[in-house]
Amino acid sequence: MAQASQDQGAVGIADPDEDSPNMIAYRKIEDIITRLQDETEGVPVRTVKSFLSKIPSVVTGSDIVQWMMKNLNIDDPAEAIHIGSLIAAQGYIFPISDHVLTLKDDGTLYRFQAPYFWPSNCWEPENTDYAIYLCKRTMQNKTRLELADYEAENLARLQRAFARKWEFIFMQAEAQVKIDRKKDKTERKILDSQERAFWDVHRPVPGCVNTTEMDIRKCRRLKNPQRVKKSVYGVVDDTHTQSPVHTPSQQSSKDTREDVEKEILFLNTQLDRHCMKMSKVAETLMIYTEQYLDYDPFVTVPDPANPWISDDVTFWELEASKDPSQPRVKKWGFSLDEALKDPVGREQFLKFLESEFSSENLLFWLAVQDLKCRPLQEVAARAQEIWQEFLAEGAPSAINLDSHSYERTSQNLKDPGRYSFEDAQDHIYKLMKSDSYPRYLRSNAYQDLLLARKKGKSLTSKRLTGLMQSS
């Protein structure tokens, strides 16, 4: 669904308090969650009877998938599963009887996560919190709260790691159990499952993707480490140290007068620039893609076949051979740039110019390109060589420059650098583009290559390969 470009006036940046790079994504998901839970337009959330008990506040996976297909304009159930699984993996919905957070299009029962536990609150729970949680689970004598194998292993590990403060953790766990007991039975069932889902996100089952992992480039920018480090259970712990990855960000300095003056200078140059009309710009984009569509293997089936699909490297062999294919020769005719980009195209163009005794322009252009790639230490000497060869009085390969460019270049050579010949090179390029290049395209040399029957050419190459293989 194409969206029209937004007005670029406001430099809209996310609210500075919303530091997480995922905040925009979270808000979008929360929109969907809110709609899903809507009393009239959402999914039917009900209590399901099972054996001796009731399961409160659940919805089936297929109900969610159906709702998404209807309300989010999705045709393919696989796409609904994909989006739903992403929402589940972040912890906004969860299966009540599984630690693995995916969405299934069947009767599996799901519950909605409490907003307190939403990822948009930027939770980064410490291991002390996790230890309190696992410890608490072992205190409550209920089969539904029994630890899974990996949780038991985690608990054992934490007991070793926190050996010295285990008493503290145990007390906190006891306190939590007391608080929980005060709540209504049904409410507790729901809260317990939501709490478990929270830990499934932050301490996932081994083998599951941890969706809370952040790109380390973004970690360092979290502006308020204090806020992020808050405890799930309200535990105040002074002993833990700041993560080395969380560095306090630099205070953004107020714009100085110099900054604003610089900006004004910049804005003035921008204002002077001539803006091209949208229609013209769109037209050139369309023309370009149209011209190159035949050369785009993702859109046009290549000939010979794409080696990745056919397991046949003929295409690459042809490209590497000195014998250019007809489409390749045709591309040289698109622009001077294309002819010069292709080493074989360059060679052919040069050969043509040599036959006309007018190769010094191209040789100069090539020499300057080479100069720009040289290590700094070689630049000065090489620049002088180029001056002597092409521009000095009595130069062996004298090129024709307008007096203005000649003067500028001569000045530049007093302190030679990589870009000393930029003016001259631009001038020579324009010359070639308007004069020798069009002549080359009309020449027999080029036309012969272009009109050579493609079949004949590739047959020759294939035969050659065959010959080589049999010898």
Binding site: I13, A14, I29, L285
Partner: protein, 340 residues
């Protein structure tokens, strides 16, 4: 009114004038103009190769110019040079710092580079006389992490950094030839223009800037995104570029129109973009997302043309070979996939 206030007002007036000038050029929109264009149809690509060998998240990759070799960098502390066609590892280079965030392949094929939390861009020679791979230069100078690096040629490399600057280095002397300052947030990515005279950068200040390599000046600045820009790539003709952001959109900006042409987004896409690339003709835009998928967009019409699913964790990097034959994706699931 203080002098600073007056200056600020002047800047604001100029910004408004520029905005009006841009509006005046808006005689149509790209999607309106391409409404009648033939759609590219459904693009379906399959995984042709899976490159296994990394042991941790892959953060970056780049194709060599021969369209077969590629380099990848992972937080397992290794740089691997692959022959992607045969899936053989040509080199497995142990890094001094495992917190690597970017890697690059020189156009000549003789060098690779990488860097990350160490703030250094390390240059590796791949074709030493002894046959082994070794560090030939460590380019230090940035005061923040190295987010991206791209070789201009064997002598020069451009880097972008978390210290909000970009730099052009002369590899031989190890010096910063030019520094590019102006961004107010971490610079996350850069892309060289096809003619190597300019490059575009994307940063966490939600802006992208066009820089002149020769004189270090910022030529143009583009706004529109509302969150970090994670990736930028030039359109093949060098007149436009696309950015990918945490705001779940990709946007196409044109240099001559000096503004945004198209936004690639969908209500059902609820996660950030990590990487972007164009197909050979530019007609298709490939983007890697946090939700483990890649989406294929019709650049001109703005419609989604396909989805590539297969990775088990976020797609962190992707690139198209120079002959346009293959797309390589790298993921936090530690695998690279080759698609077409």
């Amino acid at each position: 009114m203080s002098e600073l206030e007056q200056l600020r007002q002047e800047a604001e007036q100029l910004r408004n004038q520029i905005r009006d000038a841009r509006k005046a050029c808006n005689d149509s929109s790209l999607s309106q103009i391409t409404a009648g264009l033939d759609s590219v149809g459904r693009i379906q690509m399959r995984t042709r190769r899976t490159l296994r060998g990394h042991l941790a998240k892959i953060y970056a990759m780049q194709w060599a110019t021969d369209s077969r070799l590629l380099v990848s960098a992972s937080q397992d502390g290794k740089l691997i040079i692959w022959d992607s066609y045969s899936t053989n590892k040509i080199h497995a280079i142990p890094l001094r710092s495992s917190w690597v965030m970017t890697c690059a392949y020189a156009p000549s094929g003789s060098y690779a580079a990488c860097g990350g939390l160490d703030n250094i861009c390390s240059i590796y020679s791949l074709k030493t006389r002894e046959g082994n791979v070794r560090v030939t230069r460590e380019l230090s100078g940035h005061t923040g992490y190295l987010s991206c690096c791209r070789f201009l040629d064997d002598s020069q490399i451009v880097t972008s950094s978390g210290d909000t600057t970009c730099a052009l280095w002369d590899i031989e002397t190890g010096q910063q030839t030019t520094t590019f300052t102006g961004h107010t947030g971490d610079v996350m990515s850069l892309s060289l223009s096809p003619d190597s005279r300019t490059f575009v950068s994307g940063a966490c200040d939600a802006s992208s800037k066009l820089w002149d390599i020769r004189d270090g000046m910022c030529r143009q600045s583009f706004t529109g995104h509302v969150s970090d820009i994670n990736a930028v790539i030039f359109f093949p003709n060098g007149n436009a570029f696309t950015t990918g952001s945490d705001d779940a959109t990709c946007r196409l900006f044109d240099l001559r129109a000096d503004q945004e042409l198209m936004m690639y987004s969908h209500d059902n896409i609820n996660c950030g973009i990590t990487s972007v690339a164009f197909s050979k003709s530019g007609r298709l835009l490939l983007a890697g997302y946090d939700d483990f998928n890649c989406n294929v967009w019709d650049t001109l019409k703005g419609e989604r043309a396909g989805v590539l699913a297969g990775h088990d964790n976020r797609v962190s990097c992707l690139g198209i070979s120079s002959d346009g034959m293959a797309l390589a994706t790298g993921s936090w699931d530690s695998f690279l996939r080759i698609w077409n």
